[in-house]
Symmetry: D2
Subunit: 208 residues, 4 copies
């Protein structure tokens, strides 16, 4: 019996299936919040602050890994209490300003709790990674109860996303850990940040 | 200047555009509620109570007509206060039981107000039309405020929907008001209701 | 090593992955053909002959089963030569007439070969199943070659589809093989066929 | 009667509606060709050469304008014979190499005619615009005939697309024709081209 089998053949299998369904619901609620904000901002400013939204649910393998690294048993309860990014929503914006406008509008909503904010745009990671990460708790309305679920929201510009997806591909390729490649990747991150900053100020010169 | 022009060149044009955007947001919120319920019921019962969901926003023409028939001026305020079905969400279910299960789960949610229920399944219209209509008020989360908007939710089975769409096509065709056609349409509505009732009891014999 | 493992860890694993990708392409080509026909018919007749289109790719398990029953080895070549319904496209139409109109339009296209037609509408299966099944071969345009792939197209009305999906659910439930249930299912199939025939003639009375 | 009215109340109104439907069909065929190529390349190289595909149909207003500038009457025949970009398909790729790989694969297909290629990547426009434009003729399979329609395919990278959408927004804003803004926009185009070139060579270092 592999770890993976254990994951879903354990006694709490039903509990785990239910939990993952609840995370899927939480993802839908957050997605809707951004679609509503996009609708409202398009109206006010004649342009869309959101270029695209994508979502993901952490795989069983990643959840197992994460629990094992924390030395925790595989139970629904442990997942819900200890892992913040089971559910993820990624919002891609044209401009850096849009990222912060959307983040503030989300934070202001009274049905949502902000658990934690990490601003990798102000303070990029060492390898060059930029993004705004927010862990929120959002209510989901089930047939017989209302429940709050945690979701990791990642907001970034088109340029940040393009860089991140290349970096992600390289990380899973062999022989790509050379210093030369890391240096070139970091240099691309800087050009990308420069482009974002110029495009953003060009935009604000015109829209004010 | 046509009535239609007046509608959107009036002083309150901006107000009207904003109102329609808010109704679009309300539609998204209701759609999400049904997607969440579908997720939950699929989990519990291994089958989807929702076959499809469609949405519509009343056209400017219909809104104008309705206000004029009520002798009201064309203002955002008058639309919001006097018209319940500006925003519409139609939910198609396989079985009659599903219609009521979903309706009860929606009614139970504490962020929603039930304004009015009309049960045309229990009491079909004279021409044979069957559906469950519920007017609800749902909160939408805007950047700076939360606001409640009215939405008409129509729940019906696949068979009810098929009949209704044929009836709708005929209504807009010339020379279709003959008694013969009305009688045949009513007869189809009855066969359709009979089929729903048999399929529903066949289903509950097995799933309990 | 399970049969399932053998399926994809065999030497021809790469060949099998490629074959399944080609079937996915064939599905896209057939879907596009129906979207084009829907566009054209909506224009000519002011109504859509297609209510919805869904697609499916046969699972590895079903392919294995089918090859084993035929006493054939699991190779890409054997699948391609011996199984006609690896790729499936289901087209749901409002009316029985639409089924045949679409089937004729598809058959007439000169880039398509018709391999086989089974008309379960004219001649329903014993249990009451009705549908029109057509096996076609359709060209797919790859980067370096053009290749013909087989696809099973199933055309049916909304009423036929509703009945078939209930029947499908029952088949996979225990204790549902009772004669009483089979009889009731057959009776529903007959009511459903009666409804289709009345709705169809009502429609043609008006549209001619 | 405005020009716009003339457009669709002219005797050839029916012809124009039919023509636009045929262009919609041509768009579907081209979209499918790119979805098929994406499927094939993902298989071969484990990564998607297509980031997104969008489509557009030229508006009546633009068609009217274009015909008037050419001194031509508003007829379906004149549109079909004289305007190459009634139907447009835009393909966004991660890397510059992907643009040319897809272009070559499209050009090689024997059911397609290449009418004209303009390479604004090799030779950017004066304002900094980069993209590869290809006019093709593609067959559409109607119920009773096969017909070739022209479509403008625009291929560009994510970075090119981001720049182009900002430039497009600025063009429709007042007071944005200043030399300062044009210079800054051109400078952004150059940084964007530099980023594309570095990301592309980083990628080919790893994937070969």
């Amino acid at each position: 019996m592999t770890d993976n089998d254990k994951f879903f053949s354990s006694e709490n299998q039903e509990e785990l299936k239910k939990l993952m369904a609840h995370y899927r619901c939480a993802i839908m609620e957050i997605e809707t919040k951004f679609r509503v904000l996009d609708e409202e901002f398009s109206l006010r400013h004649d342009r869309n602050p959101i270029s695209s939204v994508s979502t993901r649910l952490k795989s069983r393998e990643s959840l197992l890994d994460k629990l094992q690294r924390k030395g925790l048993e595989v139970t629904a309860q442990n997942i819900e209490n200890n892992i913040n990014d089971v559910a993820g929503v990624r919002v891609i914006c044209p401009f850096t300003d849009d990222v912060y406008v959307l983040a503030r509008a989300l934070a202001r909503q009274n049905d949502i709790d902000i658990i934690r904010i990490k601003d990798y745009i102000e303070n990029p990671k060492e390898n060059g990674y930029r993004s705004l990460h927010i862990i929120v708790a959002v209510p989901i309305f089930l047939a017989n109860e209302t429940k709050k679920m945690r979701v990791e929201v990642q907001l970034r510009t088109i340029a940040m996303d393009f860089w991140a997806s290349l970096e992600h591909q390289l990380r899973y390729k062999k022989n790509t850990e050379s210093e030369e490649i890391s240096a070139e990747l970091l240099s691309c991150a800087k050009i990308s940040a420069d482009l974002d900053s110029r495009m953003n100020s060009l935009r604000s010169k015109i829209y004010g």
